[in-house]
């Protein structure tokens, strides 16, 4: 034959070089470069701080914003990570569960806040006519209507869970045994359908839901250690609720069989069935927790930002995915760590780059870390 051999030497050479590059040492090289880069940035940070190029207050503010962003990303990411590992697919409709939580929760909060003063339709649809109320008129802040806001929070969780379970019934349940990719594609379909069904009712325009956030500027003496001069109560509510839920979830998974059952299912679904794990019930629990957290995340983001549209979850989705993958799928601590990395990256990176490039930094970091650790930061490390 002989025809096939021309140029084989050359391609062998190329092959070899590439093999060497893509081998472990290549990964180590990347890791080294990344660490080096981070080290340089840290040194530069210290330099900027000491030289006065960067005010400490601003760095603190970036960090705080990063923490706040991390928390709502984490709420969504934990749920995504759980459904990812147990149902074995990347759920692209998770972002729209966040949206669902925002819309359903605030609709309920408005109905309660404006009960008797305005028509139900006006409240549920967030003032579709100019005559309707605004969030400010309804007094939608945590001090003025704590009950409405709390009920809205619970409703956001419950209604999102309901929607997620209904979708599972209608779509995913019929596809339990298909591979991850068909499910992923179906979830893109779910994402579009869900988002624009919401759009048909609430339009694609944005709505403003809350009154402006109450601010505390005078602290009692014993709170001398607080490094802020002002606290936004809505932001604080977000932080407290998110941290509380994460701790609660940790305890739930640590001290009940549910956590083990979920891991077992993530590992080997057929065998889980055989050992008597009620898999459908575990799936139910997974959706309940995952969608509940997503719904709460959506609701809290709106509480913090005041304003939202049907794209709120979709725009977050890629960040959520980045967090989940960075952390390594299947571990809630991984999702937490990933969220922190992403949240801090998009904020603290502003020290060096303009604001329109911060997401680029986050996604680039995600890709780099995946190259170095293909299973994610905590991939393979088993946690609750």
């Amino acid at each position: 034959m002989g025809v096939g051999n021309t140029g084989d030497n050359v391609s062998n050479l190329i092959d070899d070089t590439r093999d060497r590059l893509s081998s472990l040492s290549g990964q180590e090289l990347f890791a080294l470069l990344l660490l080096l880069g981070i080290a340089i940035l840290l040194i530069d940070l210290v330099r900027r701080l000491t030289m006065g190029e960067l005010a400490l207050g601003r760095l603190w503010r970036y960090t705080w914003n990063g923490l706040v962003d991390s928390l709502y990303i984490a709420l969504a990411a934990i749920g995504l990570s759980m459904t990812y590992s147990i149902l074995r697919f990347a759920n692209f409709s998770h972002g729209d569960l966040v949206t669902t939580g925002a819309f359903s929760g605030w609709a309920v909060a408005w109905v309660i806040g404006g009960w008797g003063m305005y028509g139900i339709g006006e409240l549920v649809l967030f003032s579709p006519t100019p005559a309707g109320p605004t969030g400010g008129e309804l007094g939608m802040d945590v001090l003025a209507s704590p009950v409405a806001i709390l009920v809205g929070l619970v409703a956001a969780a419950l209604l999102t869970i309901g929607v997620a379970l209904a979708i599972d019934r209608l779509v995913y349940k019929r596809m339990r045994d298909t591979g991850g990719i068909p499910l992923l594609i179906a979830s893109v379909g779910v994402a579009l359908a869900l988002r624009y069904i919401i759009g048909v009712f609430w339009t694609v325009e944005s709505h403003s839901a809350t009154a402006s956030a109450p601010i505390i500027e005078d602290f009692p003496d014993w709170m001398w250690w607080v490094p802020f001069d002002r606290v936004n109560l809505h932001e604080l509510t977000l932080v407290l609720i998110a941290v509380g839920l994460i701790i609660g979830l940790h305890l739930l998974l640590q001290y009940t069989k549910l956590g083990k059952a979920m891991r077992a299912m993530a590992d080997n679904k057929d065998l889980a069935l055989i050992t008597g794990i009620p898999t459908e019930r575990v799936i139910f629990a997974t959706w309940t927790i995952g969608a509940g957290l997503a719904g709460v995340a959506g609701y809290l983001i709106v509480l913090d930002r005041g304003q939202f549209s049907i794209n709120i979850g979709w725009f977050l989705l890629l960040l959520i995915f980045a967090a989940v993958i960075l952390g390594g799928i299947g571990s809630i601590y991984g999702a937490l760590v990933g969220s922190l990395v992403i949240g801090l990256t998009i904020n603290v990176s502003l020290v060096w780059i303009p604001a329109d490039m911060n997401e680029i930094a986050a996604f680039t970091l995600m890709i780099l870390i995946l190259i170095i650790k293909p299973d994610g930061l905590l991939g393979g490390v088993e946690t609750a």
Binding site: D15, G121, G189, A193, R195, I371
Partner: protein, 489 residues
């Protein structure tokens, strides 16, 4: 031209085998004719459908033909995208959801290359074909840069990596920092995008070309005679160019599919380690396939933006990627014919369909519909269903399109995960594998025991020149005897 071109090609190239010449054209592409027929049927049926509905609803001939041309334009574009994606996903199993990013790279590179040097941002004023080629190369290189370090990343992680990459591309071209790079006049224009000057736009350029221009002018005259405006036909010209590209892509990808290279790609999709252990350079094949696919996506980007004089980052939202995916899935991934049909079906029914319905609603029910669900429900409660219909189909046509898109995806995944055409046996080989070489009879020989006699003869005639085969020492009689034994069981 769409019919003679691809058909003629395979025949010319296989005439070298003395006795196989007759068969092999049919063998190489077992379903060539049926596939073309299928595409033609679907396209024709859709055209007739849209035309009749359009005319009946009073949209006018020019307007209806305009819709058809618009459908064809998008169909060609999505078919191109789906074909390129098919190389990644359908064949190699690389789940690339960053299509929009590679299209953006192609389109931006072309725009920077061809935009006028005194524009803002400035371009290099190169000829259009050069721009197209540069766009392809840039997208291909971007693919290389992305795929080499991420070869080891799991399939679903890889998907997110590509999606992240496409967002990086979009956000970068949008970023202020690249608006004008450094102190140069050149750059991406940021959110403003790049304007290639009208003089450079592709359609007039096409009309300046020798043959194409003449053909175009003839079409213009015919169009004028039957009441179709030149604007529609000019755009039709461009769509014609796209169709030529579809044909070229189709031939290229079909060739890849029916070849040992395609076989390696398929093996990678099925089980990469197994392929590797058989001595296949899977990494190289993946890199090549990915880069080529990305280059093709870049080409699609240039062709898409080539019909525009202005390019901006908004055109490359991830949604475009999902459009391409839906097109591929509708047709059935893994099948090139399916990709073309999927592109067409997507463009006609999901992309343009709701707009068309909207036009019809407007023509028949007017435009005076409530603007909010609130109003629609109020009027529905007041006993006026047209308000609701108008609200959903006219005011919310866009939302309805997305819902339709979503539902179609879900239903296909549940009911027909293999696409409209179903699971298609596209056997990846340069020849028809189902029969032995020199079997002379025209019919399809049954496989298994019945062919043994022919097979045995065949082997005897073959072993003489088959000196590479280790198997030649194999005594034909033994094999036949064994087969006989098996039959007894």
């Amino acid at each position: 031209m769409s019919e003679t071109d691809p058909d003629g090609d395979p025949e010319t190239e296989t005439t070298d085998g003395p006795d196989s010449a007759d068969d092999s054209s049919a063998m190489i592409r077992p379903k060539w004719r049926e596939d073309l027929l299928l595409i033609a049927k679907i396209v024709l049926a859709t055209y007739v459908g849209f035309f009749v509905v359009g005319i009946l609803s009073g949209a006018g001939i020019n307007s209806t033909v305009g819709t058809l041309q618009s459908i064809t334009f998008w169909a060609a574009l999505f078919a191109l995208g789906a074909l390129a994606l098919n190389l990644h996903w359908g064949y190699t199993g690389m789940f690339n959801i960053g299509v929009a990013g590679f299209m953006a790279i192609g389109a931006y590179t072309m725009s920077i290359a061809i935009a006028s040097p005194d524009g803002s941002p400035a371009g290099f004023g190169l000829p259009i074909p050069v721009g197209i080629i540069l766009g392809m190369i840039a997208a291909g290189i971007a693919g290389l840069v992305l795929v080499i370090p991420t070869l080891r990343v799991r399939a679903d992680y890889f998907a997110i990596v590509t999606l992240g990459f496409s967002e990086i591309v979009r956000l970068s071209v949008q970023s202020r920092s690249l608006r004008r790079i450094g102190d140069t006049e050149y750059g991406t224009g940021g959110g403003q995008g790049i304007r290639a000057t009208p003089v450079d736009s592709v359609i007039p350029w096409l009309f300046d070309q020798p043959v194409i221009g003449d053909v175009g002018n003839v079409f213009l005259e015919i169009g004028a005679a039957i009441g179709i405006a030149s604007s529609v036909l000019m755009r039709g010209m461009y769509t014609g160019v796209l169709i030529l590209f579809v044909i070229a892509f189709y031939i290229l990808l079909t060739r890849i599919a029916y070849s040992p290279f395609g076989r390696v790609l398929k093996a990678i999709r099925d089980d990469e380690l197994a392929a590797k252990s058989l001595g296949k350079r899977t990494d190289r094949a993946k890199i090549v396939a990915f880069a080529v696919g990305c280059a093709l996506m870049g080409l699609v980007g240039t062709l898409w933006m080539g019909s525009r004089t202005h390019i901006s980052p908004d055109s490359f939202m991830p949604l475009i990627t999902f459009y391409v995916f839906v097109a591929l899935i509708v047709g059935g991934s893994g099948s090139n014919t399916g990709s073309v049909i999927g592109g067409f079906a997507f463009a006609a029914f999901i992309f343009e369909g709701p707009r068309f319905v909207r036009t019809i609603v407007r023509e028949n029910l007017g435009t005076d519909f409530p603007r909010t669900a609130y109003g629609a429900f109020a009027e529905l409660g007041g006993g006026d269903p047209t308000a609701m219909i108008g609200y959903v189909l006219y005011q919310q046509a866009d939302e309805v399109r997305y819902i339709l898109l979503g539902v179609v995806l879900i239903v296909i995944m549940i009911k027909r995960p293999d696409g409209l055409l179903g699971h298609r046996k596209e056997i990846s080989a340069g020849v028809d594998l189902t029969r032995r070489g020199a079997v002379a009879d025209g019919g399809r020989p049954a496989v298994g025991g019945d062919t043994d006699a022919a097979a045995a003869d065949d082997r005897q005639s073959n072993t003489g020149d088959d000196n590479d085969s280790q198997m030649e020492t194999n005594d034909p009689d033994t094999t036949t005897a064994e087969n006989g034994g098996k039959d007894h069981e």
